[in-house]
Symmetry: C2
Subunit: 245 residues, 2 copies
DNA sequence: CCCAAACTGTTTACGTCATCAGCAGTTGCT
DNA sequence: AGCAACTGCTGATGACGTAAACAGTTTGGG
């Protein structure tokens, strides 16, 4: 079983890096993993990740579900290809000018942009096994390049990267599953229940009265909440840099 | 459809708060939503969230899948109940002593502990619609209580909470899907490919050589990586507090 | 006191999904 | 020419969530 896993992994990595030998015999393949992934991405963009089934992707090419298995080992690998497809162009941080901080902010903005353009990306990267293809590594490369001048150790740089990337994820998560009507409805119902249990939740009641969850502030789009978290994090990182070890 | 949604939501909220009128007629119910949720939690703890199906949970009580629908509107609501069940006891931050920072760290530790005890919690809260029951609100209450003395505005406190809670999530995510053998295998394969494309990934190659991804540092358990991120974040928050607005 | 209403849990069925096994047709190397 | 390698297909399997209809049980209203 360990061997099976290893072979699966090897095949998956080869697929991600596009390093597989093309066969010469037999009918010409009508598809490629790349085109399949693109179709799946289009489908996910339009109808969500749940709508991405082998049948539906196949139908996009007028082909049965099983035909896809000639190009892709299984659905998990297809999702990995989708992620790679969407991360194709690594961010260009040079436009942000010099300075690790400006460039890191730019990296976060680019990441946010991709996630907002493809909301299923969050779920896709959450479910996947830890496998990074070349495009994903390109994003990591860009971030590490931005962090290089900080003088932090390699391990620290990596940790800062994880911190920032994780923050973008949670930030986008909130953007994505924010639903105006749903949220307001829940707010009303909960406010009522909260009032009935005010003694159990004094701080919460106070915050509610102070408007901490008022629509303007609850709507994550307002006031650029990416900046708030990012500024806190990068302030903290700056302190670490200044401290000099 | 809006009406349907609203009714669903109302029912869901009532379920979470345990505010539903018990019927008098008919056979005595043999189950309760709470007991069902507990069984589902046990199942998820043992075999993962994917193993939680209506059949299997029903089987835990020697009952068919459909029987559960007498207690729970559907699977989504069952998952919500599972989350509530696991968050039953809100964290006690007073043991950490005084000071917003110590208490916030303690909150994060408690949250980490729960997530590690129930690894499926991440996936469960990721998939759910934004619905918080009383126990989840209890955790929020605890955090806001800790943050109250900071002098930050209610909206800022809320944002700091989101920041910290999100960080714990991503941190635990890493802990959870870290797999020794899998990770090493991927590392080997990727290192090989990386070497072959070293010119495309100079920073990455340098970081690799500097040991940024060496097992000791790659293993997120080592060196308390919760502290690293949390310290950066809270340093940044401290600056915000000092700045006085 | 009795019966209809309310409630329980069951079986059956439907549609969807990923994936396995086997088949028929196509291509190109030897 | 013939065989091996390859394509895409059909059909089947077992899992899932849940809708519908039904049989059995309890109890309040008459």
């Amino acid at each position: 079983m360990a061997k099976e896993k290893a072979r699966d992994l090897r095949a998956g990595v080869a697929l991600l890096w596009g390093e597989q030998d093309r066969p010469t015999r037999g009918p010409k393949p009508s598809l490629t993993p790349g085109r399949i992934a693109e179709a799946a991405v289009a489908l996910a963009d339009a109808e969500g990740l749940d709508a991405v089934s082998m049948s539906k992707v196949g139908a996009e090419f007028g082909v049965s579900a099983m035909a896809l298995y000639r190009y892709v080992p299984g659905k998990a690998e297809l999702v990995e290809l989708m992620v790679e497809s969407v991360l194709a162009e690594a961010p260009d941080l040079s436009t942000a000018g010099p300075g690790w901080r400006r460039q890191t902010v730019e990296w976060a903005r680019c990441s946010e942009r991709v996630h907002r353009a493809h909301p299923w990306l969050l779920a896709a990267t959450a479910m996947r096994r830890q496998l990074m293809g070349p495009h994903q590594l390109g994003w990591l490369e860009a971030a590490l390049t931005a962090l290089a001048p900080t003088g932090l150790t390699a391990a620290q740089q990596h940790r800062v990267f994880v911190l920032v990337a994780g923050f973008v994820r949670t930030h986008v998560q909130q953007l994505v599953d924010f639903d105006e009507e749903h949220s307001r409805e829940w707010g009303l119902l909960t406010a009522e229940l909260l009032a009935r249990h005010a003694e159990r939740f004094p701080a919460l009641t106070a915050a509610l009265e102070a408007g901490a969850f008022a629509p303007e502030t609850a709507d994550p789009d307002a006031a650029d909440s990416l900046r708030f978290g990012l500024d806190r994090i990068l302030d903290g990182v700056q302190l670490l840099i200044d401290r000099g070890h």
